[in-house]
Symmetry: C2
Subunit: 435 residues, 2 copies
């Protein structure tokens, strides 16, 4: 008796069972909506005063003045020098690799001229100012600071503002050190929906930003959705997921540990293994039973595996790939002999970890690619967080006199076809006057 569901793609009800396994709806009930709406309104109208009040109420410490909310850069630097050398080196090594990868993502402008001499192109610019939400307390992850902050800095964002709640006034030195090495410009000890509101609307103390990124609880997620439009936001993330495709020749303990590494995030996390080697599925199930008790976060892992984990028996490699494309997983491990031969057939996945040596956990921290990835099947239409999320494009058109005259003919016909005669005449003016 294993704790993970066993499915086979040959089951007549496989499609339904898979859909049930993947089903996930984030719960943002009316109560949460109302509380968040009230907080947004208070911060929008009362600014810093509301921030002081909410910080006292929710984070249980009492800033005297709004200036108390700022964590000065010297404080971030102090954390950097205070943490153990091994952690400092690890943060530095991770930051360096994340930065190198991010540099490859940077978009550049381009232009060309058509036969009439008209210039057409695209200008790429960074955001003026971005906000980074970092959760406080237990879920405070320095790696998340690196992953969100570094692409923004590589994009050339003018000012990067971090907010991080400090419940009971407690600071996380690793988070502050990560902010230092990632190049965060200013940091504030605020959190929750009130921090999102402050970043979206600005207060006397907190600068308003153009986009807010970073994970948070249901209040933070609800607030981000509500301010979307006023500012940009990143994806609202669901629970973390891994799908492992294995040919049966990887050490089953390794695969078990990869499934654990996803499941240890929280009880809603999803770990799925698919293989066409039935004996291997049994071996991994046995590894899971044996290794689980040795893990610090065993209760969380067991709850996640029981609720949302699965071992799927596929007919063959092609069948396993079809399952992966159906699931569109956040993390996909191709734990097979020749991953490069099949990666081109993966149509949807946030990040693809190729080969037996590429543990997903390497990507969470330091391989280089971002660990902020599309969840809940949204890899069907969205991408990892990247430098491009902190850049935007402006179309460029510079019509030559001759080009303008020619374009005016087409524009005029179409504008009149749509009944928009001012459009037509605006175009025609240029055409008539072209040399």
């Amino acid at each position: 008796m294993t704790m993970l569901q066993r499915l086979s793609t040959s089951d007549p009800d496989f499609a339904d069972r898979l859909a049930a396994l993947l089903a996930w709806e984030s719960v943002s009930d009316d109560r949460v909506q109302q509380i968040v709406a009230e907080i947004l309104r208070a911060v929008r109208t009362q600014g810093d005063a509301a921030l002081l009040e909410y910080t006292t109420r929710f984070d249980r410490w009492t800033p005297t003045t709004p200036a108390d909310l700022e964590l000065p850069r010297a404080r971030l630097e102090q954390a950097w020098h205070t943490i153990p050398a091994a952690q400092r080196q690890a943060l530095d090594a991770a930051a360096e690799r994340i930065r190198t990868y991010a540099e490859h993502q940077k978009l550049s402008g381009w232009s060309y001229r058509d036969a009439d001499g008209t210039l057409l192109g695209q200008q790429v610019t960074p955001l003026d100012r971005a906000g980074l939400y970092v959760p406080g307390g237990k879920a405070a992850y320095p790696s998340s600071v690196l992953m969100n902050a570094i692409p923004a800095k590589v994009a050339g964002v003018g000012e990067l503002i971090m907010v991080v709640p400090t419940p009971d006034g407690e600071l996380n030195e690793l988070v502050l050190a990560a902010a230092h090495v990632a190049g965060v410009d200013r940091a504030f000890a605020i959190g929750g929906a009130q921090a999102v509101a402050a970043l979206a609307y600005g207060t006397a103390t907190i600068p308003g930003v153009d986009k807010i990124v970073g994970p948070g609880n249901i209040y933070v997620a609800t607030a981000k959705r509500a301010v979307f439009g006023q500012v940009g936001i990143d994806m609202v993330a669901g629970p973390s997921e891994i799908l492992v495709i294995c040919d049966g020749a990887t050490d089953p303990d390794w695969i078990a540990m990869d499934l654990f590494s996803q499941a240890e995030h929280d009880e809603d996390a999803q770990s799925i293994l698919v293989s066409w080697d039935a004996a291997f599925l049994d071996q991994v199930a046995a590894s899971i039973e044996r290794l689980l008790p040795t893990l610090e976060r065993a209760p969380i892992i067991e709850a996640a595996l029981r609720a949302r984990g699965a071992l799927i028996f596929a007919r063959d490699l092609d069948d396993a790939i079809a399952v992966a494309n159906q699931i569109a997983p956040e993390h996909l491990e191709l734990s097979v002999a020749d991953p490069e031969a099949i990666v081109g057939r993966i149509r949807h996945a946030g990040a693809i970890f190729m080969g037996r040596y590429t543990a997903e956990a390497l990507g969470d921290y330091c391989a280089g690619p971002n660990h902020v990835l599309p969840t809940s099947r949204t890899a069907r239409f969205s991408s990892p967080l990247g430098v491009y999320d902190f850049q935007k494009r402006s179309s460029l058109i510079l019509a030559s006199a001759a080009g303008s005259a020619r374009l005016a003919q087409t524009a005029s016909v179409l504008a009149r076809g749509e009944g928009l005669t001012a459009h037509a005449r605006s175009a025609e003016y240029r055409g008539e006057c072209a040399p």
Copy 2:
């Protein structure tokens, strides 16, 4: 007495007056929310039956079977051959230019190897299936079909599904012809929130898609927001806007007509001119008074100009550029002698029309760049619709044995720092076994 507000950047209350001028909130009241929620639920649970019912009720024609909802490709082709030759040629010329520009936007994958031999990269794939919403009735714009459909096809989207309501059963031949030339794969005569629901959830007749793009009324916009997450969506657009920066040497009639061309969209559209030549502002005001009565859509234009138009006197070019960056306009005309010298200083704009010959209307139809652009200051953080909106990225990592061992050291330190020991052990397994 002019119908447009006159502002000067030197006014002590300029910032407040500009903010008031730009203020815009889309109204999606509780009643709309409730109606949309009910429609989404009905289509989700009853599928085609709900579509038939809503089409009868809202579009006032009665499909007998779900198959009646489809507009076969032969019908699109028939429209193509039926419209006047001048319109066919104009659609063809526009489609060709939009396609050529879109090809320049297409993202490609890339990869590199680090010193340890680890491969890092990004794989780019198109969406499997996209949905294009096209409004029916008065606001049915064939140019919008081209602008939304062509980037999807250039991206390589597997199947492009168009929905267009046909109020009282009335078809718009130009819209169908545009769908034909743009390469729409399937089309259905449905609209409103029910069409959005059908595309998001799929029914027996309407294939579910991965992303929905295209403009619509408040019900469509509200439905798109509601299904976001289940599928991707494009931006929810506000009213159209133009900002013209002019040095005073362009024919004032041309500038007046450019302002009209934006204002004729609807009463909420925004047309603003900024110049450091006070006499020129007067000349444009006079052109507006003189030309307005000659326009078919004069009542709409006048309402828009009175409600949201403005002539802004700036101190100099630098000041005008600062105003543009504050407004972050959807459309920006640089009607100046040397636009290339200043375009690099524009930080936020959807599309930039450079020089006296580049009427914004040329971009609406056929210059090449997309006319779906960020409105309401969202150009601070978002981009024109493009091929990249129909592509997504997957990160690639293939660690060499040596690379894995080295990465495992860093990952292990950071994972243990975060208390995630399964992550640490998953990485360490590989490190221990590396040759």
